[in-house]
């Protein structure tokens, strides 16, 4: 069984290393600041005992007041997993750091989130729409999206 690591257990280790990076730690997940995400993710990927070598899944959610991106990290070596979340409150121009430099598996997933939710990933080498065509207006998975009909 993949052991789901508790955010509460990991928070002290991460706060010690990256002060002020954790906004909220619960049993199921860690909510972190987007500014320090890249360093924190690199730490999670390489730190002995954690070694999250596999980015299992990325989901973007529009909670109206803010966007949330959920990263599901797994370590194939230790068979444990962790959910890391980041939030962005800027509806007009949401930007988050890209994690493609750490996990290539983020490539199409970030493009998908950009296409359907309009969140930009800074540092992504080829950030463009993946499913919808160039010139399509809007981002359909946003809750305020209207198709003009």
């Amino acid at each position: 069984m993949t052991l789901a690591l508790s955010g509460e257990d990991l928070a002290p280790i991460l706060s010690g290393r990256f002060p002020g990076s954790i906004i909220k730690a619960t049993k199921d997940s860690l909510l972190v600041k987007s500014e320090g995400l890249l360093n924190l993710a690199a730490f999670l990927q390489t730190e002995a005992g954690l070694e999250f070598d596999y980015l299992s899944n990325m989901t973007g959610v529009d909670y109206r007041e803010y966007f949330e991106v959920v990263y599901q990290l797994t370590s194939l070596k230790h068979n444990h997993s962790l959910i890391v979340k980041v939030q962005n409150h800027d509806r007009s121009n949401p930007v988050l750091p890209s994690l493609v430099c750490l996990w290539c598996g983020a490539n199409f997933q970030e493009r998908e989130i950009y296409d359907l939710l309009g969140i930009k990933f800074e540092g992504h080498a080829d950030l463009k729409r993946i499913f919808l065509w160039e010139g399509f207006q809007g981002h359909p998975l946003r809750k305020d999206f209207t198709d003009g009909a």
Partner: protein, 367 residues
């Protein structure tokens, strides 16, 4: 004097026999050798994740059939598991066993199509695939017997199945599992004993272990690269811990290994089905669940080892009868992440084979 060459851009698809659906590849060539490759998606995008936000939880079961339409039972299973987790619904024993039997039959169907189409891509045009479709037909007959459908089943429900299988299902299934190992021997003899096939598939399109993991590959693609990672063992769901089976892994991570892993997995699936049939209890296969199911606010993620890889559903509930967010972790899309790196340096004809060996369904890639 060296001959000067110009890079040449060639476009495969979106309608091309080798792309297995509406998929486009833009390849830049230097002579016959690929120097750059860009997959272009979206021709089958139906906005399923958006559609699901407007449907009730139960109405969305039929949408999952239209993701990977070669393996609809596995999609049904992943989705109902996610909703059961979200709403805390228990499943009766008999339904659990039948789900495992159906999911493993579905794996055999999907691998038969994968292997058949792959051999087709290698140049054994249309004849070998008919051998695989012969057995696929038998499984589709079993599915039709169980739920009346041959492709889009819409069979699983929260807390079980829509109905029990008929009396004649188990004898027919027994006959099938007794015959199937002999058929798998036949395919393996026909294909793996063929020198042309070996020359085209061995050592071609190598995906290293590190690259497979870093590119979030899953399923047979990941295992062919030597990673023994199978959700049925690594993060077991349903009643899989009750069955004995092995995880076949490749060593080279080439096209041949991806083929080989699928052949071995079919044998393991037969092994699981045999055990499940022996242990299959009597009893109900449904649970009373409100038609207007309103799971408590929160989020849930459930994933299964689908034939193509790690298929997951991430659901967010706001306490109403419709999901707030309905996201699919699509193995077909993520397994394509490494395609560019796997193809660069190979010839055009090899690209067809490398792409074929990954085994994707566009319905799941584009959603």
């Amino acid at each position: 004097m060296a001959l000067r060459t110009e890079p040449f851009v060639i476009n495969f698809g979106p309608l091309h026999p080798s792309t297995h659906g509406v998929f486009r590849l833009r390849a830049t060539l230097d002579g016959e050798v690929v120097t750059e490759l860009e997959p272009v998606f979206g021709y089958l995008h139906r906005g399923i994740e958006k559609l699901a936000e407007g449907y009730t939880y139960k109405q969305s079961i039929c949408l999952t059939d239209r993701l990977d339409y070669v393996a609809a039972m596995s999609n049904n299973l992943a989705y109902v598991l996610a909703v059961e987790k979200l709403a805390g619904i228990a499943v009766p024993e008999r339904a659990e066993y039948l789900r495992v039997i159906l999911a493993e039959l579905q794996r055999i169907v999907s691998h038969l199509v994968a292997v058949g189409a792959f051999v087709n891509d290698c140049g054994a045009f249309q004849t070998p695939i008919l051998y695989m479709f012969r057995e696929r037909e038998k499984i589709l007959d079993l599915f039709e017997m169980a739920c009346g459908q041959r492709l889009t089943y819409n069979y699983m429900r929260f807390g079980g199945l829509s109905q029990d299988v008929p009396e004649e299902f188990i004898p027919a299934l027994r006959k099938f599992v007794d015959q199937m190992p002999g058929y798998i021997d036949e395919y393996d003899q026909l294909i793996a004993g063929n020198e042309i096939f070996l020359a085209r598939a061995r050592g071609v399109g190598i995906l290293s272990r590190e690259m497979a993991i870093n590119n979030s590959a899953s399923g047979p693609v990941l295992r062919a690269s030597g990673v023994a990672w199978d959700i049925r063992k690594a993060d077991p769901y349903s009643i899989y811990p009750r069955f004995e089976f092995d995880i076949p892994t490749g060593t080279a991570g080439d096209c041949y290994d991806r083929y080989w892993v699928r052949i071995k997995e079919m044998r393991q699936s037969v092994r699981i089905i045999k055990q499940a049939m022996e242990q299959l209890p009597q009893g109900p296969v449904t649970t009373r669940v409100s038609l207007n199911l309103k799971p408590p606010a929160g989020e849930a993620y459930a994933h299964v080892e689908a034939p193509k890889g790690d298929l997951g559903f991430y659901l967010v509930s706001d306490g109403t009868d419709k999901p707030y967010r309905w996201h699919v972790r699509a193995p077909s899309l993520l397994n394509l992440t490494a395609l560019r790196d796997m193809c660069i340096g190979w010839k055009v004809a090899d690209v067809i084979i490398i792409f074929g060996s990954i085994d994707i369904t566009m319905g799941e890639v584009d959603r």
